[in-house]
């Protein structure tokens, strides 16, 4: 379970271009729940994800994972419980290392690394099996350096790496935005399969309204650093793209009127 309690983050505080990125944001995600976060640029989506992952310290407020306060723990400590797939395929993998080594790094995310040999036969067989589920042929390229893979293959690898070991929380940061439509679809399908099978508590940021309609248990719309709208349950099942876009439109009109 993820709880964000009155999280506040202000950039350039006290200066002319002060920007309130998170304005006492409250958000709770139940264990096993799949939340989809939408919102216009500058609504605070990225700030929120960075605050959850620990990359950005909060000015005030708390972040709890399964009831434990992690507000003041660094990124690498939180990583034992949180897995993240970035928008940029380059960010989520170590390019100069092999596919198998990247899988190993992900497997060791939540355990203590020892001086035992990293890639043993048992692990390699396990990686082969897990990668074959993607159907991209990555299972035969374990010794290939990741820099030689395409963006889609890298992102698929990132996803397999992230869902392995069943993290307490999975953060998906527009993870299909940089991919072509067909690959984006493949990665999205793989995401949904993994999230469903493993019952992962997931928070996905997306600009793709169709994805927001099709996937997840709840749509969370952010605006100016707070939750503007939440659609869950039966209402979520009946929501349409047009209806979601409407909520953006209101805001845009308001901006054009100078309000």
């Amino acid at each position: 379970m993820l709880e964000i309690r009155s999280a506040r983050k202000v950039f350039y505080a006290g200066q002319a271009d002060e920007k309130v990125a998170l304005d006492n944001l409250d958000l709770t995600l139940q264990t096993g729940e799949f939340g989809v976060v939408i919102g216009s640029n500058g609504a605070g989506k990225s700030t929120m994800l960075n605050a959850i992952s620990g990359a950005l310290p909060l000015d005030s407020g708390q972040i709890l994972i399964n009831g434990d306060d992690v507000t003041n723990t660094p990124v690498h400590t939180r990583a034992t419980r949180i897995a993240r797939v970035f928008q940029d395929p380059m960010l989520g993998t170590a390019a100069s290392m092999t596919v198998a080594e990247n899988m190993l790094l992900a497997e060791l995310r939540s355990t203590k690394r020892t001086l035992a040999r990293g890639l043993n036969a048992k692990r390699l067989a396990d990686y082969k099996e897990r990668l074959s589920a993607l159907g991209l042929g990555l299972e035969n390229r374990l010794e290939t350096k990741v820099e030689l893979l395409s963006g889609g293959q890298r992102q698929s690898l990132s996803l397999i790496m992230a869902v392995g070991g069943s993290p307490d929380l999975l953060l998906l940061d527009e993870h299909t935005a940089a991919l072509d439509p067909r690959t984006a679809d493949l990665v999205m399908q793989a995401t949904v399969r993994a999230v469903d099978n493993l019952k992962l508590t997931t928070l996905m940021v997306t600009h793709n309204m169709q994805h927001a309609v099709d996937y997840g248990h709840r749509v969370i719309m952010l605006d100016a650093g707070r939750v503007k709208l939440e659609i869950g349950g039966a209402e979520k099942a009946n929501v349409t793209v047009a209806k979601l876009v409407e909520h953006f439109a209101v805001k845009t009109d308001a901006m054009m009127l100078g309000a």
Partner: protein, 309 residues
């Protein structure tokens, strides 16, 4: 003909001495390779850590300390120096190269303080080379054996370490720090340990060199970094760097070839003062090669931060 044969004779006479030297200096090359290649932390500390190791070892041996113990002490001091460079970079966000220059400049004074003077002779003192089996002490063969044994040990140890879970994590920090952090690896700890380890090798090299030449000098590190870089590039050109094994072998192969080349140049009559210029031009040529192949003006003016490592 006369010139060729005399060059060849004087070169051949130097081969054993040069080989012993290059095996000792291979540790500096290792100390340069690890930050530059494995950690992507271009580091200049070796220029100060190498004489630091020499000075610490020299002073201890002059005081009658066991030569092996003196090397261990030098190694630890080098490790600390490397840790400081990494800390300066991480804590104050100072560019790695500048952090290294700061450290090496400060180390110069520290080295002088340690020795109390700029030059210290330990000629005739016990050294680790006297322990070489089967050979008469004092000859290059004993140095080749001892430095070779330590070098082989270091190579095997690193080749094993970089494939362990911890070693893989360390390499990940060099490959993609943001990703490493997201996979639960502390970038701080890895960088500090990694750069510390590298400087420890540089210091070890200095300590071995002091025992080999019988004196320590505060200026013994001058230009060692460019020599090491040249050696590293030759090694990588010969054995490649596609795998951990090859990347670790490159410093040793490179050091051996590089110092033989230098010895050949000297035997052919090149004035020693020109050596640094020649080495510098060589490194420049190696770095410029990819850009020359690509042709001029491609891609416009590069950003200042785009250092070629």
């Amino acid at each position: 003909m006369e010139f060729l044969s005399s060059t060849f004779t004087s070169y051949m006479a130097l081969v054993p001495v040069t080989l012993s030297q290059s095996l000792i200096l291979a540790f500096v090359v290792m100390g340069i390779m690890i930050p530059f290649r494995t950690l992507h932390f271009p580091d200049l500390t070796s220029e100060g850590a190498y004489p630091l190791g020499g000075c610490v070892c020299g002073v201890l041996i002059a005081a009658g300390v066991n030569p092996a113990l003196a090397i261990v002490a030098a190694l630890l001091c080098g490790f600390l120096a490397g840790c400081c460079t990494a800390l300066i970079h991480l804590r104050f966000r100072i560019h790695t190269l500048l952090a290294g220059i700061l450290m090496m400049t400060m180390l110069y004074s520290i080295n002088l303080r340690i020795m109390g003077k700029s030059n210290l002779s330990i000629f005739g003192s016990d050294s680790v080379y006297n322990w070489a089996p089967f050979v008469t002490p004092g000859f290059p063969a004993s140095k080749i054996i001892i430095a070779g044994i330590i070098g082989a040990g270091v190579f095997l140890a690193l080749n094993w370490f970089f494939k362990t879970e911890k070693g893989t994590a360390l390499r990940a920090v060099g490959s993609n720090p943001a990703m490493a952090e997201a996979q639960g690896i502390s970038v701080w700890v890895s960088t500090i340990v990694g750069v510390g380890l590298a400087s420890a090798f540089s210091a070890t090299s200095g300590a071995l060199m002091v025992q080999s030449q019988g004196f320590a000098d505060v200026n013994m590190g001058l230009g060692i970094l460019i020599n090491g870089l040249a050696a590293l590039m030759i090694g990588e050109a010969v054995v490649g760097k596609q795998s951990v094994f090859r990347q670790l072998l490159a410093p040793f192969v490179g050091a051996i070839i590089y110092y033989q080349l230098v010895s050949l140049c000297l035997a052919a009559g090149m004035p020693p003062p020109d050596l640094k210029l020649a080495t510098g031009l060589f490194v420049l040529a190696m770095l410029a090669l990819p850009s020359l192949k690509r042709g001029r003006g491609a891609g416009g003016t590069p950003a200042r931060e785009k250092f070629r490592e």
